[in-house]
Symmetry: C2
Subunit: 328 residues, 2 copies
Amino acid sequence: MSSHELDVIGIGNALVDVLSHESETFLERHGLAKGTMHLIDEARAGALYDAMGPAVEISGGSAANTMVGVASFGGRAHYIGKVRNDQLGAVFSHDLKSVGVQYTTPMATSGPSTGRCLIVVTADAQRTMNTYLGASTQLGPADVDARLIARGRILYLEGYLFDPPAAQEAFRAAAGFAHAAGRKVALTLSDPFCVDRHRAAFVDLVERHVDVLFANEVEICALYEANEFDAALQQVRRHCEIAALTRSERGSVVVAGDEVHVIEAQKVNAVVDTTGAGDLYASGFLFGLSRGMDLPTCGRFGSLAAAEVISHVGARPVTPLAEIAGAS
Amino acid sequence: MSSHELDVIGIGNALVDVLSHESETFLERHGLAKGTMHLIDEARAGALYDAMGPAVEISGGSAANTMVGVASFGGRAHYIGKVRNDQLGAVFSHDLKSVGVQYTTPMATSGPSTGRCLIVVTADAQRTMNTYLGASTQLGPADVDARLIARGRILYLEGYLFDPPAAQEAFRAAAGFAHAAGRKVALTLSDPFCVDRHRAAFVDLVERHVDVLFANEVEICALYEANEFDAALQQVRRHCEIAALTRSERGSVVVAGDEVHVIEAQKVNAVVDTTGAGDLYASGFLFGLSRGMDLPTCGRFGSLAAAEVISHVGARPVTPLAEIAGAS
């Protein structure tokens, strides 16, 4: 690749994760649906944080985690997302740059503080997310540069970006720039509730603008209001060039026109925290795709990266993924 | 105990830990002596942070970690230390209160930001600390209330408090209030370089004002400029009612006048991060002492707590220490 070219450019809501371990009772008491993402306002974030036990702060954000994964595989990754010029914003920026992800989006100098995702991890290693978008809502089309987007072999967009209206505009602008430059556009559906909030727009995007789609079973069924995974799979294969559909411990199914590849999950000794599993699957898949690997290899890289990240607390790899991929 | 009484009141520099894993080369390149604490200014903190890899933010502060340990054993703990009214200050306050440690010191509303300890963890699980004191230098005698200090069976002071001058005043005032109320005063020497910076003052304190002293081998030898542990031990037994001297994997020695108790270290499957080992040893010892247990039991509680905290990343227990003590 030319020194100017990038493997993947990701755009998403820039968030710092605040993780604590809580009981099942905690979820019930606060009306939280396990395994999903809830959008919360600042007041609710304050109340929920007060109720949470001692926490750890780690940089997160779905697409940002994915870009860290791409860099960890040895890929060239660039991230676009908005934080404020506050302490958590500095943490977010440091943690991206320190692993080699390019990050140049100007920090907001006024408005809400850096976004946070309050993540409750239960004893079964499931994570339940509560997102205060904060400064990430300030991302807009002005933060998306056509020349930058043209440099990325793949543009990766998170579905969560559809929640803040200005970010949705940035999302559409970026997709337009990518296609105009002959690049691929990838999307993750992010979360079943997110799909419910934006179903019509997502269906339109998938049919007309998305080349590579990431979704888990629940999300793809939600998109097509299908009762069965196979029915949803038959729908999506008509619309996207490639769809990578994840199924937790049952691995993933990659469909591309007439091709169907069933990919096994990578075995993990002990699942500690599932935060970031989908994000890291996408990182392995996108890195492989950007480097021209075949689809089963892309899927296998996704499984390796997901297995690494669920074996410890936090949504970013602690062992270089290039090492793991090299050894496998 | 009366509902009004507290087991332990701790005073220290309030810090948020910023932990990253680095190579031995990183220590050499930045001139860091492994296993010790370096005081750094804001500019150096910025430069060092830029050089560090991705980090995790977790509340720390030596005496604060100890108070969390006391609470985790089921004790009543109160903490005095200064943060600013910024994001990391809110994190620090939340993490103390969420485990039941009382914390009422008013946040600074101007001046430097909340203090940070940049902790470099090497592959041998050793931690090397780089402290930007920040707002913790704003702690002063006005933050120490005589009536509060009188309620605590033991007042626990960290040696690090001697670095910021106003905090040193607060330290002396608190020790005076405690003795006036017939309470015990405990001190940890904190760090060999800290002892070097304040040797004369520490010797005077130990001889005249301290009832219970915590130190590791290097620190107690530094205090008396002794070449051998036994020589230092003979000195300290003449000055303090109780001295608990820790020796890493060789456990601890507790001396009280003519009594000498050799306490074994608790076995650990894998030492992950030694951050907080001394702080948590002190928590177990102080909890036991406050509850009238004999010295070998106090030492054993110290070993149990230290073993818990070195088995994971971060300086505060993740498993309730009351459970561990109950099962042992």
